[in-house]
Amino acid sequence: MTEFIQGPLWTIATTIFLIGVVWRITTIMSCKVSGELSRTRGTAGVGSIKAIFGRFVPRKETISSGRFQMITGYMFHLGLFALLFFAAPHVEFLKQRYLGFGWTPMPRWAFVIAAELAFAGLILLWLRRIMHPVTRLLSTLDDQLASGLTFVAMFTGCLALFESYTQLRVLHLFTVELLLIYFPFSNLMHAFTFIISRGSTGTRAGRRGV
């Protein structure tokens, strides 16, 4: 079982993930583009870049109503990003499995802070999702599964931090594999498609000079 999880299942999961992500993006990109024949006022390209990067910062008119989600959202996303790419076990894993080279990981204290921010952010966001009437109405099974799988993957990673027990590490790997398999079928795809959606809207806004 352990060998299966560390070997073939990892290959299957990453393959499904890669093919799935490419497939989803290709499907979107191969949809028709509604042509724009009106005279442009501004620049579409500039609008696109502005939206892709600018939307990381909320508009000042929305800061008071959106404060909770902005803070917890960034806690989660930045924490998770730091963990994924700069946690020492992950850097080592990528080095050994794929890249042959690594990079300087975070020091332990930074790792702990990143993990705590990520967990706090995720739990707070999930609680808000189930408590607030708007997100309660909008949320689907997909949202719950995505939050749940992400939490479980992070949690099992935390359990395996001692790095002394294969069983815990394999459990973490298994939950990550489940997450990778689920990823292309869910709205976790926003991690990639947000560039297309922001770019699209930005293009239109840029043409109008907004």
């Binding site: 989803r24 499907t27 979107i28 990109m29 949809c31 028709k32 583009v33 509604s34 042509g35 724009e36 024949l37 009106s38 005279r39 006022r41 501004g42 939206a51 892709i52 939307r55 909320p58 508009r59 008119e61 929305t62 109503s65 959106g66 989600q69 959202g73 999702r129 607030h132 009437p133 708007v134 997100t135 309660r136 109405l137 909008l138 949320s139 689907t140 949202d143 079928f185 709205n187 795809m189 926003h190 498609t193 947000f194 297309i196 959606s197 922001r198 770019g199 699209s200 809207t201 930005g202 239109r204 109008r208 000079g209 907004v210």
Partner: protein, 429 residues
């Protein structure tokens, strides 16, 4: 009430579903893929903020289109459809969402500004309405207005005869001649029926300003209507027909520029959607009257004298400012004729909708909700305590006056063109 389009007899759910499918393009596919149901759009929508009803969350209004997207473009959606678990949109779906799509959305675009993943919800609602109207699901008020526009040229049934009468009044009042069907004029001005019947001072203001600035302009007797019920109800085929009417007379008269009047969606219809609707670039430049006035001011052809000293503010028409990109011009113009101009706290591209756009003011069923939503504009005005509100859209003006009366607020409402005309410097050197 059937729609008068080629598909009159095809106003069915299956036709609606087919049209709905056609709407999905790259933007929409990326939007539904990226939405994580965060609910940020809710706090940007006045229908939600003033009612706290979560069903008015903007992205929720798109559930029907999302269902179609899922069934066509996602693995589980396609699987569900193949196995029969997932059914196409039904009569019940259309009926249940009709009021969300038409009564509680003015296509104001504020939600599109705040989405963290950049979803243009307004763009999608506009497309979703295509499916709804093809299925025969649209508010009666809007359907009637649409039919009247297609049959008579005006959503209010205003004929050339009625406009001619107004022109006569204006000519008597101003002593100026309003050019009609003038071949080779520089500018063809279109008008909205609401201006013609409700705010004819717009026409006299135009006459005075153009006379003072030496602008060569004309109206058209054949096709004067600027508004486009097609883009409000979601009938692009007929919307294109309405645009073609303007293109046709503009071409006949040989004008290089067409002026969109003080109306919101009329500007969107011709300036941004017009060419796409008719499938070719427009053979003329389109300007909103505010853009033209600003140009004339910069060229030194429009001179003003004196300033209004009332404490006043500017309501940004959504289609002109946020969706149209005409942001600074109204402010530049106002600063020339007002000495006590105060911005609302949320202003410019983030101002709040008046609640009457996107066909909502033509929809009697939505009257009560519209007035509840107006509380947001009321709150904005209470915050800055002004005596006068200036705007550049007749529908906004009408809706705001309605709201002010309902809430017993003593604020004067005036159009920007009208205000400028009041301070026009007619002395020629």
């Amino acid at each position: 009430m059937e729609l008068t389009n080629d598909n009159t007899n095809d106003a069915t759910v299956s036709h609606g579903n087919a049209v709905m499918k056609q709407q999905i393009d790259r933007s929409i596919a990326s939007y539904f893929s990226s939405c994580v149901h965060c609910g940020t759009c809710a706090d940007a929508c006045l229908f939600y903020t003033e009612t706290r009803d979560p069903r008015y969350t903007p992205i929720y209004k798109l559930e029907p289109l999302k269902k179609v997207w899922k069934q066509e473009y996602t693995f589980f959606g396609k699987l569900g459809k193949a196995l029969g678990f997932s059914k196409p949109l039904s009569e019940d779906d259309y009926a249940a969402w009709e009021d969300l799509v038409y009564d509680s959305c003015t296509l104001c675009g504020r939600c599109s500004m705040v989405c963290p993943v950049g979803i243009d919800i307004t763009y999608m609602i506009r497309k979703q309405r295509e499916g709804f109207s093809a299925a025969g699901y649209a508010p009666e008020g809007l359907k009637s207005a649409h039919k009247r526009t297609l049959d008579t040229g005006s959503p209010m049934g205003v004929t050339w005869k009625a406009l001619k009468a107004q022109i006569r009044h204006v000519e008597n009042e101003t002593g100026l001649t309003i050019p009609v069907d003038k071949q080779g004029a520089d500018y063809l001005s279109t008008l909205s029926s609401l201006e013609i019947m409700g705010f004819p001072e717009y026409i006299s203001s135009l006459a005075k300003i153009f006379d003072a600035a030496g602008v060569s302009w004309t109206l058209s007797s054949e096709s004067f209507e600027a508004t486009n019920s097609g883009i409000q109800i979601g009938d692009s085929k007929k919307a294109a027909e309405l645009v073609e009417r303007i293109v046709s007379v503009a071409t006949k008269l040989g004008v290089k520029n067409v002026i969109s009047p003080e109306c919101g969606h009329a500007y969107t219809a011709i300036r941004w959607e017009g060419a796409n609707l008719i499938g070719r670039p427009l053979p003329f430049r389109v300007l909103h009257i505010v853009e033209l006035l600003d140009e004339l001011k910069r060229q030194g052809r429009l001179k003003t004298n004196g300033k209004n000293d009332a404490r006043l503010t500017f309501h940004d028409p959504c289609n002109l400012v946020r969706k149209g990109g005409v942001v600074d011009q109204p402010r530049q113009l106002l600063n020339n004729v007002a000495s006590n101009f105060v911005e609302m706290n949320d202003h410019g591209v983030m101002n709040w909708c008046c609640g009457g756009g996107g066909g909502v003011s033509s929809n009697e069923r939505a009257d009560e909700l519209r007035l509840v939503a107006f509380k947001k504009k009321k709150q904005q005005l209470d915050e800055i305590k002004v005596d006068t509100l200036v705007t550049a859209c007749a529908n906004c003006r009408n809706n705001i006056e309605d709201g002010l009366e309902h809430y017993d607020m003593d604020i004067e409402v005036i159009g920007l063109t009208e205000l400028i005309a009041q301070y026009l410097d007619t002395d020629r050197p």
